[in-house]
Amino acid sequence: MSFYGSFALVTPAGLLQLLCQEQRSVVITARGDKSQACILLCEGLIIGGSCDAFQGPEAIYRFVTWRDGVFRVDPLAEQPTESEMAAPVEELLLEAARRRDEFALM
């Protein structure tokens, strides 16, 4: 049971918020233009992620800036015994937005 989609129809931030609000435990695998990402959600919290060479929160900050690409969502088969983070999606998205605003100032 998977579902697929395109970031032309839902943004990466929108997809993360939807799945987290529903408190899902899933794996998102995504492919963009020359980029790849894998994000793990457990009961609505983001517990891990990679985006190209970046891991953890930095991977999420990169992932949410994608403007195009495709994604696939699968159930999280098994929760990792040690997760690299357990962060509410809002915290990560707000930090990403803060960085974007402050970067624009520089």
Binding site: A13, Q23, P88, A97, R98
Partner: protein, 195 residues
């Protein structure tokens, strides 16, 4: 508004908006500190220039259920500085109501007006009808010297017809009155929308 069928919850979002240092964060810190732990989530705090951006979940049991769903509010502040436009717009996405925190000090009038204007602009861009969207006005810092009269602030900001409260959030005065009015306005709007 987000309906979580699995948990039987109606997730609603109220955003505290206003110019930098008007007291948005002080309002949320006061509410969080005086809410029993079983009724609130963790206070998430992000360090932005001059002040902090806060958010937390707030379970309101007194209001009863809406269409058999428990209302659960998520309270947010926005960073007030002008250049945090993308952050403010992200926070306003999906909001069900706004508390606009006015800094009553005479020297902040232009900041209040600019912030009010950007709030309206963002809400319109997000597709809200300003004539029906719940916006509660809080005149904060009434305990400070050199404040404008409430009638002058009303006139300058053109907020007639909105629920309005005077507050001194640092002492807690008016904080819960404002919050209750915002929650009632949001619930009222939801009931109208799903009638």
């Amino acid at each position: 508004m987000f309906i979580n069928w699995g948990l039987g919850e109606l997730n609603l979002k109220i955003v505290y908006y206003g110019p930098a240092l008007s007291g948005k964060t002080t309002n949320l810190q006061y509410i969080h500190a005086r809410t029993p732990p079983h009724m609130r989530g963790r206070l998430i705090s992000l360090k932005t220039q001059q002040e902090r951006t806060l958010l937390f979940d707030f379970l309101q049991l007194e209001m009863g259920k809406v269409h058999n769903l428990k209302p659960k509010f998520k309270l947010y502040t926005v960073p007030g500085q002008v250049y945090y436009a993308a952050s403010r717009k992200l926070i306003l996405q999906g909001t069900d109501g706004v508390v606009f925190v006015v800094d009553s000090q005479a020297g902040r009038l232009a900041d209040n007006q600019e912030s009010w204007y950007t709030m309206e602009q963002h809400l319109v861009e997000l597709g809200h009808d300003l004539s029906t969207f719940p916006i509660i006005v809080q005149y904060n810092k009434r305990d400070m010297p050199h404040v404008l009269s409430v009638s002058e602030l009303k006139r300058q900001l053109a907020v007639d017809g909105r629920p309005q409260f005077e507050a001194a959030a640092a002492r807690g005065a008016g904080v819960f009155d404002t919050l209750k009015a915002a929650m009632n306005a949001v619930i009222g709007q939801v009931k109208t929308a799903i009638r």
